[in-house]
Symmetry: C2
Subunit: 189 residues, 2 copies
């Protein structure tokens, strides 16, 4: 490797860089994918806004209302929902920096929510990205619920190998960074 005059090493690993850049964050990638699905009339799926408890608001003259005190609330549902080919779609998305997915990153009320929407007929799943590997999995909600509800007896996290064996890798491309619709087509339609 050649040192630049400033002493910094030039990075030749262009492929690795592009893979890292392509990631951005899972949320941005999902927003971009959902925007594509919406504009191409493929599906109508949105991220719900972050729930916020507003405490005080200023109403300055001639300008927009300004929130001056507010707090983040815990979401009682999952982050994403919508409709695809007549079916209600409901999912939660999580990034994971370790090689094992910690079960505590899913809240009890989110598990309840997933069970409830499955009961009412929605297609429910989780999208879990292992950021260090840049691999994004489609996980059937039923599998996560099963593991979660037996966790006392078994484990506190789910190893990467379990995802590799039991879940679907979600294909990536520049237009649609997280093409979970492709996985839905294979599994349900």
């Amino acid at each position: 490797m050649i040192n630049y005059p400033n002493g910094k090493k030039r990075k030749y690993n262009a492929l690795k860089i592009s893979q890292a850049n392509r990631g951005m964050t899972l949320e941005k990638d999902l927003n971009r994918s959902n925007k594509y699905f919406l504009e191409k009339n493929i599906a109508n799926i949105h991220k719900k806004p972050t729930p916020i408890q507003i405490v005080s608001v200023d109403y300055p003259k001639r300008s927009a209302a300004k929130i001056t005190e507010a707090y983040f609330k815990v979401a009682s549902t999952t982050d994403y929902n919508g409709v695809y080919k007549g079916r209600a779609i409901d999912f939660e998305a999580k990034e994971c920096s370790q090689k094992s997915f910690p079960l505590k990153s899913i809240h009890q009320h989110q598990i309840q929510h997933l069970k409830s929407v499955i009961h009412h007929g929605a297609i429910a799943f989780m999208i879990i990205r292992f950021t260090s590997l840049d691999e994004t999995f489609f996980v059937n909600a039923k599998d996560i619920i099963n593991i979660y509800e037996n966790k006392e007896k078994t484990r506190k996290s789910i190893p990467y190998s379990w995802f590799k064996k039991n879940c679907h890798l979600i294909p990536f491309n520049l237009l649609v960074p997280v093409n979970y619709i492709k996985v839905l087509d294979e599994l349900y339609f």
Copy 2:
């Protein structure tokens, strides 16, 4: 009517008071109804949080993050969605204090959103309450879209009589203040 010693008239119109109280606001009534549907395992339908643009956040030691500057954003979708008997449900709710519903209270992007979810197979509608009459109507989204898209040629508001003639009055009771599920059952299931 008897005047009290303080000169105020005692109100004998108990029925009118109870009707006024029963109203609270449409949003509260819908939240209570949706809570009932959720707990009784009838449907899973939620109001989306209000979208907010966060500008600055304080992180005081040992306490929750405090949002100190934020602004309301215009919603790009409708306020309510979820799943009932396997179908995706999507609707917007509006209160109307006049005897005619002003079309400007529905945004163009909400009309676009309703068209899109219908295209993908959701059941889409609006719930419109005439507060002075305390009557709440279930309005098929297609009807509102038709009127909205022809509004240049016709009218700027929809009179109460149109709702009375073309829409379904949503039944009220104390447990379920806005029982739109009953209307869905009649129309779709």
